[in-house]
Symmetry: C7
Subunit: 93 residues, 7 copies
């Protein structure tokens, strides 16, 4: 991963529908805030240095985030989203 | 429960109408903010570490929250809502 | 009262018009913010622990609040409102 | 006065036009913010305990406030306004 | 001057056009924010007690302020404006 | 210069197009925020006393600022703008 | 580079499409926030003095930023953007 997020941002990669079905979690397409599942691929240095935040999120975590949060980019044909720690709603264990 | 909320968020599961009738609480459908009843199924780690908040809410509590707060997701056919501690209005004892 | 408000919220029960007339206070129906009278039935734990706030409000107090503040619920046929301490305008002594 | 304002609010009673003329102050009806004159009848306890605020305002003071600030109520046929300390513009000495 | 401004407000009296011409400053009528010249006639006690602010403004100073700031009142036929310290743009020396 | 800006404001004098061309900087007229070049003619006392800000800006500096920031005034036929330190984007060295 | 950004601003120079293709990162033109790539050419002194920020960004870094952030200027025919540290989303390594 060649993208290093600034501040307390993270970079995430959306998870395809097949994977979501396996984990048993379905995100309804009609939901008000349109949540989506993704995998964390990079974490900003301010999260690592924050006592409260660093234990809550690590690279490789599967997360739920709001569809309208963050900025989408593409690298080598894969789609990523850069968003703030506070826009990650939950980790799916 | 395989969903771990981030920050001071909680995951709640809506309570069906029959249960509400048993507890004697009726939430009017015409209310301005449309409150709803739910049961807490997971609590974010920042609530557990907050001196003020940790004693006010625990897993299993029945709570009232505003219908328009939070993000809805589905896991194994059950509907959950991820919302912030500050969007939980009250605990029904 | 089986409803415990969270944070610095209070639960209040609206006072009927006859009572208002007895206390000599009339809240005009045309007022810009539409104030209403109510009795405090429960107080959140963060108010009890706040040095400044705890002496200003207690269960049983008659209060004036803005009609558009808070969330309405019903328990055993009685109507209650859950609102924040800062939305209570005054205590009627 | 049986109304005790909460927080840093004050209760004021509007002054009739004859009184305003006596004091020599005229508040123009076309002013952008529509200021009004009133007399302070009650002061919230947080003002009394605030080092900066307590010396600036006391019961009996004649004040100028913005017409659109606060909430109007009636007690025994008299009209009062409950508003925040910060909405009182000036004291007329 | 019988008006004592509250908080960090000041009372100012607008300066007529002849005076402005003498000082060599012309405030264009087409400017976006419509600045105006005035003389300070009273200063709130919180300005006098603020280390940073007290040396910047005193009664008698000629100041430039934004036309749309503050509240206009009249006393003995003279027009005054009550506005916040932060709405005074500059002192003309 | 007879205008002393209050707080952390500065007074600047717009630079004519010929000067801009000499310095090699062209500010495009179609830019979203319409930046402009100016020279600093006065600095508020709160900037001089602020450890962080005082080394970044001094009288005589050529600066870039957003066209829509600040308030325009005229003194002896010259046009000035009073604006906040935070609205000065950069110094041109 | 003759432009010194104020506060925690940076000056960046947009990267042409050929360069982006080489690095393997493609920024989709239909993205909601329209991210763009750029190279950092100057950094404000408040970033250098901020313990948290100074290690995250240096002159020469390739960065992703939101297209609608900042102010565009031209110097010697080259186009630059002045924007705040918080509007830089990520560094591309």
């Amino acid at each position: 991963m060649s993208i290093k997020p600034l501040g307390d941002r993270v970079v995430i990669k959306k998870i395809e529908n097949e994977e979501k079905t396996k984990s048993g979690i379905v995100l309804p397409s009609t939901a008000k805030e349109q949540p989506q599942m993704a995998e964390v691929v990079a974490i900003g240095s301010e999260i690592d240095k924050d006592e409260k935040k660093k234990d809550q999120l690590k690279v490789g975590d599967k997360v739920i985030f709001s569809k309208y949060a963050g900025t989408e980019i593409k690298e080598d044909g894969k789609e990523y989203t850069i968003l703030k720690f506070s826009d990650v709603l939950a980790v799916v264990e």
